[in-house]
Every structure is written in C-alpha cells, then in structure tokens.
Symmetry: C2
Subunit: 204 residues, 2 copies
C-alpha cells in the first residue's frame, strides 16, 4: 500500500480535492488515503464542507502528497511556517500533485524553480506573481516535471490524477477508472479548453 496524503486547509476548493480522492480511492488495494492539516481537526472547504483531518506531525510523508487550491491559498502564500512544513513534506514525498492554485503554494517553497508547471486559468496572473522563477505554462491541462504534477483549475485535477495513474499503472487502468466513474477524461495534458480570450482572473 502506498500512502496518499491530502494536505488541506480552511477554504480549500472542494472539487480540487475530491475529484482526485475519488480516483485514488478507486484503487483500494494500492493506495491508502489520509487527510491532514497543520494541526489536525475539522477543516472546512470554500463550499462549506467540514472534513476531519490528522495533524501533519503524525504523518508518514514518504508517499504521494496532494495539495488542492482555493481561496485559502491567498493567506497561505504569506504564511512562512505553513510553507516550511509544505516544503519539508514535499521533499520527503515520492510525488507531489497540486491542483489549481495549490500550484502557487508549491511554487512558494522554491522546489519547482526552473521547472514547468501550470495552474488555474482564472487566477493565472496571481499564481505567476507568487514565483517568477517557475516556468509557468498557461496552456496546459496538467504538467509533469520530475516528481511534480501540477494541474489547471478544479476539474483538471481529475484529468491529472488519471494521468498520474496512467503513468504508474498504464493507460488502460486510468481508462477503466474513468469509465467506472462515468467521467469523460480529457486525457491530453496539452489540450486546454479554458485558456483564451474569455480568460479572467476571478477565482471565487
């Protein structure tokens, strides 16, 4: 069993997290899911969802780390203590997957300086401003750079998670999960329907 640690915080974006949870959770024999936050206890998403978390002090950080985005990231990019923990967990993790503005948090650790990454198209300018040493890719559904997987906004996390499963277990495995959850997998990481003229910086 490999650990998948979902690192959450108040005002995380609900579907950023649970789309990815659904996909890893489908491989019950392979992955053990844990929800963690800095101090543990109940953490509430931007969409009023209270979930129970373990404190990161109790965590085995050697598995896969998943970091969602959401409005809560606006405070956390300024929280040096929280970012130090994220950096330590990310260094120790076998893989780090970020969704949406979770990419800004990872960027603030400095660990993806010089690497390609992507994020939410609705908050892209803000994300880029958090660390200009990252090679931000605006047109991408998700990006893989070494052990770091970063995705575009919200639903794109599901496409990335299926891409990760494909990389680890073969594309047929990912396609089977998508089929079972009746999800139309956008399986090309470079195809991005949400970049273009209508783009606005208004993550809510």
């Amino acid at each position: 069993m490999q650990k998948v640690n979902f690192l959450v915080f108040d005002n995380f974006e609900t579907l950023d997290l649970f789309g990815v949870v659904e996909i890893f959770g489908r491989l019950k024999e392979t992955y053990e899911l844990t929800f963690v936050s800095l101090k543990g206890g109940v953490v509430t998403s931007s969409q009023q969802t209270p979930i129970v978390t373990e404190p990161i002090s109790t965590l085995d950080p050697s598995g896969i780390l998943v970091v969602p985005g959401g409005l809560g990231t606006r405070k956390l990019v300024l929280d040096m203590q929280w970012l130090a923990h994220l950096k330590e967990l990310s260094v120790q993790a076998a893989y780090v997957l970020t969704i949406c503005t979770g990419s800004a948090l990872l960027a603030k650790t400095g660990l993806i300086d010089g690497k390609q990454a992507t994020s939410n198209k609705r908050a892209f300018d803000w994300v880029m401003s958090t660390n200009q040493a990252v090679k931000w890719q605006r047109k991408a559904r998700w990006v893989v750079a070494d052990k770091y997987y970063t995705s575009s906004g919200v639903s794109a996390g599901m496409d990335m998670a299926l891409g990760f499963i494909a990389d680890q277990h073969g594309k047929a495995c990912a396609q089977k999960i998508a089929y079972d959850i009746e999800y139309v997998w956008n399986d090309c990481p470079d195809e991005d329907f949400f970049v273009g003229n209508k783009e606005e910086n208004d993550e809510k």
Copy 2:
C-alpha cells in the same frame, strides 16, 4: 438563501457528493449547504473521506435534498427506518436530486413509481431490481421528472447539477460555473457515453 441538504451515510461515493457540492457551493449568495446523516457525527465515504454531519432531526427539509450513491446503498435499500426518513425528507423537499445508486434509495420510497429515472450504468440491473414500478431510462446522463432529478454514475451528478442550475437560473449561469471550475459540461441529458456493449454491473 435556499437550503441544500446533502444526506449521507457510510460508504457513500465521494465524487457523487462533492461534484454536486462544488456546483451549488459556487453560488454562495443563493444556496446554503448542510451535510446531514440519520444520527449526525462523522460519516466516511467509500474513498476513506470522513466528513462531519448534522443529525436529520435538526434539519430544515424545505429546500433541496441531494442523495449520493455508493456501496452503502446496498444496506440502506433494506433499512426500512432509514428509507422512511428519506421518504419524509423527500416529500417535504422542494426538489430531490439523486446521483448514481442514490436513485435506488429514492426508488425504494415509492415516490418515483411511474416516473422516469436513471442511475449508474455499472449497477443498472441491480437498481432496476429495487423497484420495477419506476420507468428506468438506461440511456440518459440525467432525467427530470417533476421535482425529481436522477443522474447516471458519479461524474454524471455534476452534469445533472449544472442542468438543475440551468433550469433554475438560466443556462448561462450553469455555463459560467462550468467555465470557472474548468469542467467540460456534458450538457445534453440524453447523450450517454457510458451505456453500451462494455457495460458491466460492477459498481465498486
């Protein structure tokens, strides 16, 4: 503000619930989200997600009731006490939305006898067996029958929720949400990519 009550139980399917939560949660000024279970307390999904719920005894049932599916439904279709509560809540609700095998639970209340409904293609034969008085529609992403919205499997709940938002607030509103969460909305209820030869009854 209109109440949206998400009725959960152990071993509910994670994305059945949280795809719909994300979509209602985007309209913060319109909808107030509450998570409820028979007795309240922590309820854990099939994908190991513990969420905090209120007991149904404290509930204002006059709003929208949302019922996910998942393996937990297999016990609940035999639980007359639970079904009696579901029936009472459903009667009082302005609308009832079910996702995936949540449709089997609604079917067991008798409230959709003679009405059209759909459910997960991976468990369709089992769902049909729970109540043959329902006019089950195998090929449908979602179905609307009076105040009852039923959807196909897991991800289809998002398409249905966006369809509900379109019915209530106009299609542009639903399209804006889909755009903001970078979700490719399958907006035709009759178009179903997951029905056909490969179909198996293996909801996990």
